[in-house]
């Protein structure tokens, strides 16, 4: 049996184990498809991802498996083309393992909004894995795959990475092609990666990044993401934005952050306090811009071109649209479409949408000023608390939205950012966030690699 065939068999066994455990982290996979992947790899040259099995969030389209976005409205949909990232993963030698569960259309922070049931936290099944890329995070944390792709709109990879104790990296906006990512918030969406280690996440990101003529927002001639190996953090200035360390921060999160800050100093970094005053407004800004863009993007799901169709009571085309969308979308998606339509509607667009765009600029300007002052990286907690219990926040959408308070600002500013495990509290992982200058993933990943190898806490996680 070839190495690829062994990897396919092993991955299938792990996926079956995860399903048997009731993680509910996958939406589609089969041993037949894994074996077909192995046969393809056997015929291909060795690449940088040879030997790596990668899970795909099920909002990334593939021709050989359904793409549902965890929504009933796309039940049974199979794309006629592959996403650019899928083509690139395969060219680099990766084995596509499965399609992973997610919050419906990537709307959520707990992966409780999937039409196919919630994903369970791999350590404590009563808790959430974070979201919206909770299936991808849980698969990597459970050791099913070494890497996975997710998508970020406002922290949907970094937040579940923190909750599950794995590495999650969001690249700069425009670094990775979104051709074949089902659009949600177009000024925010970034395909992002999970890895068991910084090295796995880095090499996966390097393999999928780069200009794509099929996505005009990807930047041509961008600097390399490849981290230059370093043994310490000497010469780096790390900023601690005071707004990200509120007095009511969870004590376990604070303790892990304090220990990491001490380590940053010991490793030679110059650590200084900085201010990002408008970050406090990132969540309300995000929850205007994101629903507005979602309402526009999801208008295409209407029962005409694909997906199951409902004929409404009046039997005409508008009744068809309304009935199909009403029956096909879940509660959170409907809520966001309604909020997005409201903030864009006549009489309210200036008060809400235009205002949010202006505040988004101020949030971005804060980052620009801090990096212009000589700061190379920012360090913050990734989330205000460790993983919370399932059902704890579902009745109150605003409380759920606040789970993204530390991750939304970098998304609004389009900056590269990542979460890496920095400790545990009561057995639950805690993530620390690094944020870098636009298109400076290289410095961020190199520093993360040094931190990772120095953090005793990480050894516990593995």
């Amino acid at each position: 049996m070839s190495d690829a065939a062994l990897l396919a068999r092993d991955t299938g066994r792990r996926l079956a184990d995860a399903d048997a455990r009731g993680l509910n982290a996958t939406l589609h996979w089969s041993q037949e498809l894994l074996d077909r992947e192995a046969a393809r790899l056997d015929a291909a040259p060795v690449g940088p991802l040879t030997g790596l099995a990668v899970a795909l969030k099920d909002n990334i389209v593939t021709t050989d498996q359904p793409t549902t976005c965890a929504s009933k409205i796309l039940e049974g949909y199979v794309s006629p083309y592959d996403a650019t990232v899928v083509t690139r993963l395969r060219s680099a030698g990766a084995l596509i393992a499965c399609k992973a569960n997610l919050d419906e259309f990537a709307m959520g922070s707990s992966t409780e909004n999937s039409a196919y049931g919630r994903v369970k936290h791999p350590i404590d099944p009563d808790r959430v894995p974070g979201g919206s890329s909770g299936g991808s995070a849980a698969l990597v944390a459970a050791g099913v795959t070494a890497a996975a792709l997710g998508s970020e709109t406002g922290g949907s990879v970094r937040q579940p990475a923190a909750f599950c104790g794995v590495v999650g990296v969001k690249p700069s906006y425009g670094r990775v092609s979104r051709f074949g990512l089902v659009a949600f918030g177009s000024s925010l969406d970034c395909i992002s990666v999970f890895g068991r280690t910084v090295a796995d996440a880095s090499r996966t990101l390097c393999a999928i990044g780069g200009h794509d003529p099929r996505d005009a927002t990807t930047r041509a001639g961008a600097p390399s993401m490849r981290p230059m190996p370093r043994s310490d953090l000497r010469g780096l200035v790390v900023g601690l934005p005071r707004e990200y360390f509120p007095t009511d921060l969870h004590p376990g999160v604070r303790a892990a952050c304090d220990a990491t800050i001490t380590l940053l100093r010991e490793l030679g970094a110059e650590v200084r306090e900085v201010a990002l005053p408008h970050s406090a407004f990132a969540v309300p800004t995000y929850y205007i811009i994101n629903p507005a863009e979602a309402a526009a993007n999801l208008a295409r799901f209407d029962g005409v071109r694909f997906g199951p169709r409902q004929i409404g009571q009046d039997g005409d085309i508008r009744a068809l649209y309304q009935a199909t969308r009403g029956a096909g979308f879940g509660a959170e998606v409907r809520r966001r479409i309604l909020v997005g339509t409201f903030v864009l509607s006549a009489g309210y667009a200036d008060q809400y949408y235009s205002r949010a765009q202006a505040v988004r600029r101020l949030i971005g300007d804060d980052f620009t000023q801090v990096f212009a002052s000589g700061v190379d990286l920012l360090f913050t907690p990734t989330t205000p608390t460790p993983a919370f219990k399932a059902g704890e926040k579902t009745a109150d959408p605003v409380q759920m939205y606040l789970a993204d308070i530390f991750v939304a600002p970098a998304s609004l500013a389009g900056l590269p950012a990542m979460s890496l495990p920095i400790g545990r509290d009561g057995g639950l992982p805690i993530g620390g966030q690094l944020i870098a200058r636009d298109f400076d993933e290289s410095t961020m990943l190199a520093a993360a690699s040094v931190l990772e190898s120095s953090l005793d806490a990480l050894q516990e996680v593995r």
Partner: protein
């Protein structure tokens, strides 16, 4: 801002979204809470002329003005709920008088 049942029904109509009457009161409460939460942006001091941020490349890369076929493994006819003679088949548009 108070959001009532009438606003929910109006926005749902704009969004082409059927909402069950039994869901309207809950949606009104939730939308009101969300709108109250995002309304805190009105307290932010925004300098006059602060434009919207544009993330990503400074300039979009243009490609040659040429239509290349996208290699599709399945045709629209195979994906659509109803398709005939090169067209998506849908019921007629009604209710034009209502706008």
């Amino acid at each position: 801002m108070i959001i009532g049942a009438a606003e929910v029904r109006h926005v749902a109509r704009l969004a082409e979204l059927a909402v069950a009457e039994t869901d309207v009161p809950t949606l009104a409460t939730q939308l009101e809470a969300i709108v109250a939460f995002v309304a805190q942006l009105n307290d932010v001091e925004v300098p006059p002329g602060a434009g919207a941020i544009v993330v990503g490349p400074d300039r979009l890369t243009l490609r040659e003005d040429r239509v290349d076929p996208i290699p599709m493994s399945r045709t629209p006819a195979e994906m659509a709920p109803a398709f005939r003679d090169g067209f998506f088949v849908v019921p007629k548009l009604g209710g034009l008088a209502e706008g």
